[in-house]
Subunit: 340 residues, 2 copies
Amino acid sequence: MIIDVHGHFTTAPPALQEFRDAQLAALSEGRASAPRMVWPDDAELRAAVEHHQLRVLRERGGDVVALSPRAAGMEHHVPDQPTAVAWARVCNDLVHRVCELFPDHVAGVAQLPQVPRGEMAPLVREARRCVELLGFVGVNLDPDPSGGRWEDPPLTDEHWFPLYEALVELDVPAMVHVSSSCSPALDTLGAHYLAADTAVFVQLMQGELFARFPGLRLVIPHGGGAVPFHWGRYRGLAARRGLPDPASLLDNVFFDTCVYHQRGVDLLLDVLPAHNVLFASEMLGAVRGADPETGIEWDDTLRYLRAAALSEHELAAVLGGNALRVYPRLARRLEGRASA
Amino acid sequence: MIIDVHGHFTTAPPALQEFRDAQLAALSEGRASAPRMVWPDDAELRAAVEHHQLRVLRERGGDVVALSPRAAGMEHHVPDQPTAVAWARVCNDLVHRVCELFPDHVAGVAQLPQVPRGEMAPLVREARRCVELLGFVGVNLDPDPSGGRWEDPPLTDEHWFPLYEALVELDVPAMVHVSSSCSPALDTLGAHYLAADTAVFVQLMQGELFARFPGLRLVIPHGGGAVPFHWGRYRGLAARRGLPDPASLLDNVFFDTCVYHQRGVDLLLDVLPAHNVLFASEMLGAVRGADPETGIEWDDTLRYLRAAALSEHELAAVLGGNALRVYPRLARRLEGRASA
């Protein structure tokens, strides 16, 4: 069983963006009226996934993708809470319909209706709705809803605790994933995403979050940003500051494999235990197309993993076993399908 | 000749911080009067370096360190330009005195009097003063004076061009180095530094800065943040956006070796040409002390470099040859000393 834990519905039918545009127009004109989503029919929705995410998954030999709404489209920096709630619901409902169309191959991961310094209650409500009603298996949690300005408290702050309580109760992990950057100096895909992955790891080092929430599981995408490359820096910083070695986080923190060259994936697996690494490709994500020098598609991380120095047992864990453990609702969902 | 291009005067006598505290107190109280620096005598200044940076350099077998004021202490987010000018002058003058005390082993790198969205004229004046009058061999350029909020335009914007004109004319490189973060969610040493290194590389990918300034040389510290680990991501992003391959930046962009474990340094050297990598340890910097598992001091990057898969010729380039090429004023300064 090969599970890609990090796919985005970046190929949604145009009706989704039209809804969003109408939302933002209403906001900027100070109109209260919420726009209506014009739902695509099944054929259009099916085509939007079948020729993209599912084709890529199938061609590369994968079985299941955990699909969430487009990350850069979450736009948590827009400060209006009702707008954020309506936007997350529409995005998640669309992903849910994809899951229903391809129940053996797609599982949902929720966008949360975050706003800068926002309250947790709307996030908890949407997480519950997606997991309990729609069968989603995880959520995306944005550690910086201000879009690169880092206005919210660190993830170790009690500000976030009501959400963690719900995630632990629901038994779903959160992938820590920012949305678009608000600064032209901070490129969304090339800089902000990786910076946030790195910043969150340092937040977690400095707090005692998992003593308080031992059942909380966080997945840091994009191979952990700069973390594996600078593992010695983090070990040294921890020692200097009297903090536990960063390896102490590895009961609760996991890393995906969205690193788009062999040498990077090799480093990731060399530094972190295979137990903590989850196959993912971010498809269709930041990077598309193939390296002209090798002909290998940049985001074909399955290929890098198969070429890495992993035992058969470790490779199986990275490709799927770890995902079934970190996303137990995905395991139950797939078991239910298999026995149906 | 072994040259560490990234040392900070983190061990300055307490009079420096007392001056800064008085500056900030005057600012917060709205007083215009500038405080006076109480200059330490030569013996105190000598001791502050001899038992720290110079001892470490000597013990490890290094010859020369390019020393700049403490990076986190630059505090470019404080928005008052006269305060920034006075602070940079005092910091640079103190480094200059260290250079005069140890002319064979220490060369100066300047702090610039930056403020968020500030003008370039004060920066150009201080760069000229430090290079032409004090004999400094480079400057530190902060790409985000707002301290993690990324309020300034990207380094490719014409906002910065007057400074680049001066740097090219003076024939000194800039190390791109941020100062302290203003957000508790963005740790200065663990997150903001590495995030900025990464963000700047993406800025440079997206502009055509070096077509306009072919003689400009930028050094990205901390091994380039996340860049080598995600080299495939940058190649893929460039291809997707119709930009030149990031390797095209390597005539003008250099990386230091402040990566504190062997596997990280190995990746850095595996991804980037030895021609573009400059020995540095950031000492006494973010990380101090030794790995309890190996007994090796975290920031003893010379040791990692000697253990890396480099030819003798490549190792010599990384340890000093590249520095003499990228910092030609350092080469001339050392030649002058040798023939004196």
